[in-house]
Amino acid sequence: MGLSPLGDAPDLGGAVGGRSVMSQISPNWVTSRLDFLVNWARANSLWPMPFGTACCAIEFMATAAARYDLARFGMERLSFSPRQADVLLCAGRLPFKLAPVIRRIYDQMPQPKWVISMGACASTGGIFDNYAMVQGIDTVVPVDVYVPGCPPRPEGLLYGILLLQKKVRGETIADASLREERPLEPGGLRIPARLVDEISEPFGNSVHQSRSA
């Protein structure tokens, strides 16, 4: 893909990549103040891209509506285009048929971007341990915050959003890997195949069902 990790790049001095310079001199008073300012701005104006596929989306709508009011957290502008979005909020189960769609939406979002996986189905596949469902969207896109629940109450989602804001406030400009675009591996997966199989292992009642029934 032409993208080399920053560590492999030859040392070109300060001419390229202010970031590498930044990572050498950071942390100091200037960068930490700059981090604070940038993170304050980012954390308080996260624009979510709702990817609502199931009942979690109903709870998300309730969260966005007047009683719980996402606008209090700087999310009043739901961005229905990935090009203007900061947070991909996957609310609901993800069938395999939608996996390339969410992957493309994630790829279309500009940096910085974060992902919230809302609900049991988006996080793990939930009760849908079957042939049609992705067992956790983290096999397709990287996830920052998992919100448990079936579906989560608006308070739960708000807590997840607050956790994401906390995470954003902890980021630093010196860590270039945070903003690194990671395309799919040559094998066509985001993470190694063994890992996909491992995190897709059934749990709970599903362990009593065999693969080759």
């Binding site: 395999f96 042939y131 049609a132 997966l189 195949a193």
Partner: protein, 212 residues
């Protein structure tokens, strides 16, 4: 018992099998080879006039000896008759049955769904593609009894294939446009579109410049 069954027996003495009543519904088994003739008669004879195809589906029983059944649920909107027609497909023969697409256009997606889930091919269907699973799905037919619940491939392989499905290669927005659908709409709906109730009328293909 629905009187249409007796009429069917008189009309097709060799094509109609057993009939029964279940929960107020009349079920009649018909011969696979005569299906299309029987369905045509059921739709077009004035006494039957089943002009609404409610559903097409299929049933596979746990007993592996039993044939797969294709089920057609018919309704007659004039006299409110209901009839359930079943065709038995033995498993040692190819799972093929004639399509009723040309009698009821409702059969289009319903037969595609049965094909997608059970692997039954409908001879004469003009566009028999998968409809629920994606086009390049390779694991088989999910609602068959021999299909494992989690699919045949490993999760990693399923994710890999799904990520490379490339939806645009098989589906297009043009396919769903009103321009394509316009000619197939019923006359009253075409009227309403022309009067501007629903949407703008698309110019008929090839005549765009004539109005200028």
């Amino acid at each position: 018992m629905n009187p249409s069954v007796e009429a069917l027996r008189r009309q097709f003495p060799d094509g109609v099998g057993r009939a029964m009543e279940s929960c107020g519904q009349t079920i009649v088994y018909v011969d696979r080879a005569r299906l299309l003739a029987i369905m045509t008669w059921l739709k077009e004879s004035p006494s039957a006039a089943y002009n609404y195809l409610v559903d097409v589906t299929a049933v596979e029983y746990r007993d592996i000896e039993r044939p797969i059944e294709v089920v057609y649920q018919l309704r007659a909107l004039q006299h409110l008759g209901e009839l359930r027609v079943k065709v038995e497909l033995p498993k040692h023969e190819p799972l093929t049955v004639d399509s009723v697409y040309h009698l009821w256009r409702a059969a289009d997606w319903l037969e595609r769904e049965v094909y997608d889930m059970f692997g039954i091919t409908f001879a004469g269907h003009p566009d028999l593609r998968r409809i629920l699973m994606w086009e390049t799905y390779q694991e088989g037919y999910p609602l068959r009894k021999d299909f494992p619940l989690r699919g045949r491939f490993s999760r990693a392989e399923q994710v890999r294939q799904a990520l490379h499905a490339n939806p645009e290669a098989h589906y297009s927005l043009e396919e769903l446009s009103i321009e394509r659908a316009y000619r197939d709409l019923p006359a009253d709906m075409r009227d309403r579109i022309e009067r501007g109730e629903r949407d703008r009328v698309p110019p008929p293909p090839g005549e765009e410049t004539q109005g200028e």
